[in-house]
């Protein structure tokens, strides 16, 4: 981490914001990791795409947003949902298929929503929510609201045509939207060099006259700083903005550690995995907070204990919740 740069950013931030960001990152990490054993044991059957290693993006982006701002997500959106304020008990209950889940057990891990927190929906069709996010931004523009929409998508979505149509339309209409590409270098099992002739996703935005940036997605302060500026641009009617966040997932594509080959071994080079473990966004931020006296080890232990308690309570809530009534199988197809 470039400590000087981070220190410079942190000086403009309140201590409470730094602690809040740390708290939320750790919350996401512990929540994600709590799912590993239940997945391996077969207790959780719903496919979960864990975001361990990518927390800094969810947290840095969402910390720069207001509650009323919108986000749209992907198959890997536990972190986005929690960072924007979605409830952990409702997340775990959803993964367990319970009626108290955020989607009443109809959606599972890949369909998360918390409309009152601006989590407008996450879906697993790659690129599927990009145009929806453009539409939400269009709605805000028509209503003349001071509201920003963030469209989260992965590097894999850069292979989908809808991204290019959406960038063009959003640019034409100068919509208040941030295209937030989380480039974790793999599209399921496919390394990016086998998906794109050049690893240059952020440059796509330039072709549509959209200010486009690439940033270290494992540095929560840099993520926050750049997104904050992007939010301001959008609110000044100077949207859209395209940001590519460079990152890496510490687990497999799906489940505890599977990259789709079906044998729970990681197909990624060991050296690469080790290198990215050293760049773990949570460890980096912890080191920064300790070295600059924002938190002590004791503080961190207390925070960790509190979050562990929160995670335990979320599981108790999920386990004590009922499954949806079988008689309600076809409810909700239409809204009355």
């Amino acid at each position: 981490m470039n400590f000087n740069k981070s220190l410079q950013i942190s000086r403009s931030l309140s201590k409470s914001l730094l602690i809040k960001m740390y708290w939320t990152m750790l919350k996401i990490r512990l929540c994600e990791e709590s799912l590993v054993e239940p997945i391996i044991q077969g207790e959780v059957k719903c496919p979960c795409h864990l975001c361990s290693g990518q927390e800094a993006i969810a947290v840095g982006v969402c910390a720069s947003l207001d509650e009323k701002d919108y986000i749209f997500g992907t198959h890997r959106s536990h972190g986005h949902y929690l960072a924007k304020g979605g409830g952990m008990p409702e997340l775990i209950a959803e993964i367990y298929g319970k009626q108290t889940g955020c989607s009443r057990g109809r959606g599972g891990s890949m369909h998360l929503i918390a409309p009152d927190k601006g989590v407008m929906g996450a879906v697993p069709i790659v690129g599927g929510t990009i145009s929806l996010a453009v539409g939400a931004a269009l709605a805000s523009k028509i209503r003349k609201e001071n509201r920003v929409t963030v469209s989260f998508f992965g590097d894999g979505a850069s292979g989908e045509g809808v991204l290019y149509e959406s960038l063009n339309f959003a640019s034409l209409k100068r919509l208040p939207i941030i295209f937030a590409c989380e480039n974790n270098l793999y599209s399921t099992h496919m390394p990016i060099k086998e998906c794109r002739s050049k690893n240059n996703i952020f440059e796509i935005g330039n072709s549509f006259c959209i200010p486009s940036y690439r940033v270290d997605g494992n540095d929560v302060l840099k993520v926050y700083e750049l997104t904050k500026k992007a939010v301001e641009k959008c609110k000044e009617n100077k949207g859209p903005v395209f940001i590519e966040f460079m990152t890496y997932r510490l687990r497999g594509h799906v489940g505890a550690d599977d990259n789709i080959q079906g044998n729970r071994t990681d197909i990624r080079p060991n050296d690469e995995i080790e290198e990215w473990k050293r760049k773990d966004p949570l460890k980096k931020f912890e080191k920064f907070l300790l070295e600059n006296g924002f938190l002590t080890k004791e503080n961190m232990e207390i925070i960790k204990k509190e979050i562990e308690e929160e995670v335990r309570n979320a599981y108790v809530f999920a386990q004590n919740s009922p499954y949806p009534e079988k008689s309600e199988l076809i409810n909700h197809v239409f809204k009355e």
Partner: protein, 324 residues
């Protein structure tokens, strides 16, 4: 107050009236500024409501339909128009994966009140990619409603009902109907989604028709009256949810059924109605069901082939004479 109004202008009036009373309604799609694309259905909208609510778009059906769906998720009531339904296939992801599933897959926490309007452009030697009718495809998908008005009165009333509905509604019209004219009330009104109508009462045979074929079916019934065959014509108006009760009631009375569709024969509208009647009203059938549909083939360009590709009232007469 009622005065005569063209079908296309009845749609136009519905949009004007809804945009006036509800600021969340907006109109978006390719060619909304161009009569060449949307006929006179968009007349006066841009002038009255401005380019913020009447949005002409590049040919990007996927993203623009997705944007309409996303705006609906964010609380608007968009109308997205596809001047040729064929191009709407680029937008199957936002229509089916997103809009249709949305309310269910989020357990009812979010809904998609969007009107997705596709215009059928048959004939005119336009061939396979400018003429298709995909109502059966969309009706197959849970979570979508599909309406197909055949009269100016219904065109207005169903458009208003579609805009007010809290779900994605596929509104399908046919350019062959645009010049038809009848008395249409000036004030806003609703034709309920899911309710068919008996266009002509009869006792000998039931003709279940949809969209343009409802017009042809009434013509056929008038001709057959002179020959002593008393046909009952149902215009379903809504393909999904279909008014099964109305169909069963008529079949119980007549014991005979011909289905007149604007689509292909296999796996479609006619097949669904046949299946439903076999399931719920089989014992009333006195004869095999007759079909008036497109053949299972793409539309040809040559007018010599078009003449036999598209069924008309004569095709319906033949089908009826085959089962009575």
């Amino acid at each position: 107050m009622s005065r005569k109004l063209q079908y296309s202008l009845a749609i136009n009036e519905a949009i004007h009236q809804m945009m006036e009373v509800d600021s969340s309604v907006f109109f978006i799609g390719q060619g909304v500024k161009s009569p060449w694309y949307v006929g006179n259905t968009a007349t006066g909208l841009l002038e009255k409501f401005g380019s913020e609510r009447v949005i002409d778009t590049p040919v990007s059906e996927n993203a623009v339909t997705g944007a309409a769906v996303g705006a609906a998720i964010a609380g608007m009531r968009p109308i997205i128009v596809h001047p040729r339904m064929d191009f709407m296939l680029y937008a199957l992801d936002p229509i089916i994966n997103e809009a249709a599933n949305w309310h269910y897959m989020f357990g009812g926490k979010s809904s998609v009140p969007v009107v997705i309007w596709g215009i059928i452009n048959r004939g005119g030697e336009q061939a396979a990619q400018h003429s298709q009718a995909f109502h059966a495809l969309f009706a197959y998908v849970p979570g979508l409603k599909v309406v197909m008005p055949s009269t100016p009165y219904d065109a207005k009333g169903l458009m208003i009902a579609a805009i007010k509905d809290n779900n994605p509604v596929i509104y399908i019209d046919d350019r062959w109907l645009y010049k038809t004219e009848e008395h249409v009330p000036e004030e806003p009104y609703i034709v309920p989604i899911g309710k068919g109508v008996v266009r002509k009462h009869g006792k000998d045979i039931t003709v279940v028709s949809v969209s343009y074929m409802a017009v042809e079916a009434v013509k056929a019934a008038d001709t057959l009256k002179e020959k002593g065959i008393d046909a009952e014509v149902i215009d379903v108006r809504t393909v999904k949810p279909l008014d099964y009760a109305l169909i069963f009631e008529s079949v119980k009375k007549t014991g005979r059924l011909v289905i007149a569709d604007v689509g292909w024969k296999s796996f479609g509208f006619a097949a669904e109605i046949t299946a439903a009647v076999c399931e719920k009203a089989f014992k009333y059938l006195k004869a095999p069901v007759g079909f008036v549909t497109l053949p299972d083939a793409p539309a040809p360009a040559s007018s010599a082939l078009e003449e036999i590709y598209y069924p008309c009232s004569d095709s319906i007469i033949k089908a009826i004479e085959g089962v009575v």
